[in-house]
Symmetry: C2
Subunit: 232 residues, 2 copies
């Protein structure tokens, strides 16, 4: 029962040991998304370190989005394969990323996933896109609601690409943009026009026209046209 697993090569940091043990269990399939981890006190005993060390390791994993803890309930393996966007936000502040760079990164990613989505989108996913597009047209007078549909539309596209890695990256970068836009409501352009461009993207995906989907997504996304200042 004991998984002390001494030696551990040359690196014997207690907190790191915790991460490695759990990582091993994850990679071996013994820990699956949604699973609940043993209590910290029990983990400490099993691994052979103190509870503070266990907590340190769990906190690292939590910061990476691998686990999430619920006070009073337990620690669980994350069920949404979502990379946390806070790191990017912090790095943005640290190294002075500009809005242009953020837009550009989003462009590269979204255009790519739009093409893949046109190849592979399922009927259900296409229906979900249509739902969000109609939602956008229905809320052209409510910027807040409009933004929600906007976010969900792009998220659906990312899902439909069939590539969870790209979907995570898109989510990470886009959340930066949407947070930025939430602070600056309403946007300059007419919401009706924006909804129309989304409709065009949707049509291209529905027609499984890869090139058109890429092109429509490309014209939709804000060009780095002299955006005002640094990010945030």
């Amino acid at each position: 029962m004991t998984e002390a697993r001494e030696f551990r090569g040359s690196d014997a940091a207690a907190a790191e040991l915790v991460v490695n043990v759990l990582r091993g269990q994850i990679e071996r399939g013994q820990l699956r998304p949604g699973d609940r981890l043993p209590p910290e006190r029990e983990l400490a005993q099993r691994i052979g370190v103190s509870r503070p060390s266990v907590r340190a390791g769990l906190r690292s994993l939590a910061a990476m989005g691998v686990v999430q803890t619920r006070h009073g309930s337990g620690t669980y393996i994350a069920d949404t394969p979502q990379l946390d966007s806070r790191p990017l936000g912090l790095l943005a502040a640290l190294h002075g990323f500009t809005t242009e760079q953020m837009f550009e990164a989003r462009r590269v990613l979204e255009v790519g996933v739009a093409g893949l989505a046109a190849e592979r989108a399922s009927a259900e996913q296409i229906a979900a896109m249509a739902e969000e597009v109609t939602g956008m047209f229905a809320s052209v007078d409510d910027p807040e609601a409009f933004l929600r549909h906007d976010i969900r539309f792009h998220r659906t596209i990312a899902m439909a690409s069939g590539n969870p890695i790209l979907a995570s990256l898109v989510e990470m970068v886009s959340s930066l943009y949407f947070e930025h836009r939430r602070r600056n409501l309403p946007p300059g352009r007419d919401l009706r026009e924006i909804a129309a461009t989304h409709r065009a993207i949707y049509h291209a995906v529905r027609a499984h026209d890869v090139e058109r989907a890429r092109r429509e997504m490309s014209v939709h996304l804000p060009r780095p046209d002299g955006s005002p200042v640094a990010l945030r």
Copy 2:
């Protein structure tokens, strides 16, 4: 001097408070890359939480790659704007990302940055690419050295895109691939052929031919052609 900064809205988690305080100082420019943070005990007193809480917050930031601690020396703001790739590796193991998906993500990113690099690469960056290409030709009999030049070539391309966000994402995804390849040396294809494709990419970038750079990068990157197994 005290920055207790009570209230803090509705969320009063001690460890989170530490992250927010430091984040604020980073965003306000009071903390810059390479700077050394105050000792944990002093931070604890200044923020008004216990040292374990400070340690918890710092560990979160460390896991995100924002700070790094050196035993016996201190905690420093990270100087390399690099997103850590370990989170992606863990998520890959967790959610069963396949090699195809990894290749595909890398394709989207690398093709994008290749196009940007063709637009913007400076003379020095182009020279650096040439250096790596010649290095690859010179080490076609040494897979290990060849791989090193390969990595550096792609890193130079990413840098030359002028977009640190994209460069970080490329680095994050590519490091997964290179780690995978390091375990599986040597690759199936002839190294000489690979070096030639890199040379073609280099020529396109040097000529500032965006479309050709994208095309050459596209043909260079391994197509998702029935790669064997899960990403491990």
